[in-house]
Amino acid sequence: MKLDFYESMPQKKSSRFFVIWFNGIVMFVLTYVIGMLLGFAVLTVSGYGDLYTMNEALRDLGSVMLYYLGVYHLFILSMMITGTVFAGICAFAVLSSYEAIIRLMISAFKGIFFRYNYTLNEFLVPVVSPYGLFIRVISETDRTNGDPSKYLMMLGVFDLALLLVSLLVYMKRPREKAGRTLVFKWMAEPLKILMAVPAVTAAGLITAQTMNANGLLNVRNMVLISVIILIASIIVCALIQGVFELDIRQAFKKKLQWIVCTVLALVIFFGFKQDILGIDRYVPDPSEVASAVFAPEGYDGLWGGRIGADLKYMDMVDFYRENMYLTDAESICELARLSMEKCDEAWDNANDDPDTFYQSDESSMFSQAILLYRMKNGRLIARELSIPVKDDKAAELVDKIMSTQEFVRGYYSVEVYDADTAISQTQTMHLEARYTDGVHDRRLDRDELIELIGMYKKDMETFSYKERIDLLPAGYIRYSISTEDSRFYGPMQEESLVVYPCMRNCIKYINDKGYSLDDFSLYDEAEAVVITNPHYDEQNEYMKEEGLDYLPEELQERFVKTREYNGTDLKELEAFLYPGDMGMYRWDGGKDFDVSYEVQIVYRRGGEKAKRYGDFNYYYFVKGEVPENVVKDLAL
């Protein structure tokens, strides 16, 4: 009756559409503006209201408005293609989440079946969605050099397109279809399939994930997964039929739907499993690569995201995307190919069994790196590779890639090259800087820090990946920046630069200033050195032979050997021991600590070190440099 009344009025359908559309906008804008003005009034009364805040709020109104329009138009479209409020709300939920679910599923498939997959965060954010586009606008706005205008424009185009589609559907929508689940009958079957296939595929995916987690994802179980997909098809199709048509009797009679859903789900599932599109091992043609990123994960102790000079956190990939532009695509692609070849070989040797692979010596020759190819056509391809850093050819290629200023400037852009900007802010902030080995410190003032970083930059001009492999750090330049507020929850920015003995300018500056850490004497500080070799390998072998889960208490003495050294022994040992901090993770597979020996330095009671660190501190020997007498003393 309501429709009869309105549809019989002398108005064009399009005018009626726009009147209702406009009412919805007015309601939103009024509410938003009133809320904004009230908020601003509260801020002004509290003394925080200023023109800048008002300007920001008004600018946000524009982007929020575009976002609102997207959601609003999506809702209108949902209502236009359905005939009841319930069906409309369901359609809105499906339209809102469909792309995100598909992206999540693709990512999950890649996670299970692809060895070199790396899912960019942005891949999970939908593109054909107001939510996704708005998230991109926000993240661009938050980024230091971000420019949200591209995404705002896309959001605007999306809004407009949705509006036009909604209008078209409204014009085509027969009035008498109100009350039906779907207005256009021809949509019903494709929609049911489109909704059922992801749900059915997800059933296979979840089963595969569970099997994968338990190491059961083998060929035999693929048959089981196929059966689960078929059963899921029948159940999902029945559910959808029940909801769509409210017809339980027909629920289990749609055989064609089952077949189509099962076939499509199996094609998707096994398509990913067999990687029929060759996505996982794809290496682009170097001539198609505009530039690339090579990010060795954890090299020089740098992990994950970074806090930039503007004190804003940046995700790892975002950081490299913004800062690293490598042009030697040829070497990067060759390294990618070689790495995958070696990695596949290693997995084949381990019969694709993760336990066997990670316990093998072969696994230790690999280090992880993120590769991003910026293609000339605008695409961005991301891969996470295991680089066989101990393979000669691979090491050559890594050296070729990393020993370039393009790499150095990108990889160290925050810690080294933006350091001046960051430190210059500390006129109004708190700066703490030191040269340290993790135990001993030399305090640096602002000027000294700036000068030392200047030296560091000079040394980086002759950066050589290969040269550093056989070197242990000489020390670290560490600095932190904090504000009054941030002192409660930690520094705003904290950086650590590794100083290698080959960095002549830094070492000279440190020595000239008398800041060398070699002057500290362990002999003067320590009362004793307690060295333990738990012989873990032998322990494990024994437990394996005896079928034990853990080593019984009474057998501990048999394997765990400990010896305390005092007096003159200390002087002899001092040259071989390094503070724990000096043994960082060696991405390059270079000089490293021998972790089978645990060394405790027991400080003199009442001494300066005991006051600072407590009774003891951990030190290590370097692999292959454990004194003979210690090896002998702690042998089984």
Partner: protein, 301 residues
């Protein structure tokens, strides 16, 4: 004039209206008769531009109706269940309709409301069902449109109100040429209002005629013939629709004017004959029985 030409409309597999052609002339009260599901409401909705015909054309004063405000400005549609805005008063409805129909007669509306004892500023949701129907009809009448479509709008109106609406129709027809089109499943409801009746059955038009023509052109005569020869002689001359016999008493329903009938019966030797009045119901029964339909089942319920 409203011209409905070869119009069809189906709802999925159900044909609601099947190739209907009707013409509705101005300044008459057109009654659209038919059983439930005959297609009356669908036809009226299509004529009002609410529904789009699957095929065929509907024009109002030579203008296509669907999604055409120019044509729809001449039509007001009162649906079987009148719609009013939530919490609205007659005043609110009037304000809205003034925007849609510039010729809305506000003064007249106030006057009619008063004469029907409907309060101008009372919330419509507190009105009774009959009052709502009256209000919907009055809003339609006062909208100033040339055509007023009433879908079962007289159901539930008491005879006094029906008479009141009927006299308003007569006045409006006289003053500004209003053409009401009234759909109903009950012939008795239309008998005293309509000038022209269209009978819909199973989506098609069974009949469309002026009531006067119907009434003037069909007669019922009771007679007793002097001889069988007279009877045969007369039956050869008359256009007989129906014949009933009770002993020697014959009852004929025949086509033709009263004068022609009198002349025909005057020419044969009858012991007695009498021309009896026919109700609209009886005329319909006679007309449709010829076409093979049992009208009693169709519209008398």
């Amino acid at each position: 004039m409203i011209k409905i030409e070869n119009v069809s409309k189906a709802f999925d597999d159900i044909k609601a209206v099947d190739r209907v052609s009707v013409e509705i002339n101005e300044k008459i009260v057109f009654g659209l008769l038919g059983t439930n599901g005959a297609g009356k409401s669908t036809l009226l909705r299509m004529a009002a531009g609410v529904l789009k015909p699957d095929s065929g054309t509907i024009t109002v004063d030579d203008k296509k109706v669907y999604d055409n405000p120019a044509a729809k400005r001449n039509i007001y549609f009162v649906s079987d269940t009148p719609y009013f805005f939530p919490n609205a008063t007659p005043e609110d409805m009037e304000k809205y309709l003034i925007n849609q129909y510039p010729d809305f007669a506000s003064l007249k509306f106030a006057r009619y409301l008063k004469s029907f004892s409907l309060e101008y500023d009372r919330k419509i949701n507190t009105y009774s069902k009959g009052m709502k129907r009256q209000l919907a009809l009055l809003l339609g009448i006062c909208s100033g449109t040339k055509y007023l479509f009433c879908d079962e709008s007289f159901d539930g109106l008491d005879p006094v109100m029906r008479q009141g609406i009927k006299s308003i129709f007569a006045k409006e027809m006289d003053e500004r040429g209003l053409t009401p089109v009234i759909a109903s499943h009950n012939l008795r409801e239309l008998e005293d209002i309509c000038d022209h009746v269209g009978l819909l059955h199973r989506g098609g038009v069974l009949l469309s005629k002026d009531l006067d023509d119907l009434k003037l052109n069909i007669q019922r005569v009771q007679c007793v013939f002097a001889s069988e020869e007279d009877e045969k002689k007369l039956e050869e001359k008359i256009d007989m629709v129906k014949e009933e016999t009770s002993g020697s008493l014959r009852t004929y329903t025949i086509r033709g004017t009263r004068e022609d009938t009198q002349k025909l019966f005057g020419e044969v030797n009858t012991i007695f004959y009498e021309i009896l009045p026919l109700s609209l119901e009886e005329i319909f029964i006679s007309e449709t029985e010829v076409a093979g339909y049992d009208i009693k089942k169709l519209i008398m319920g």
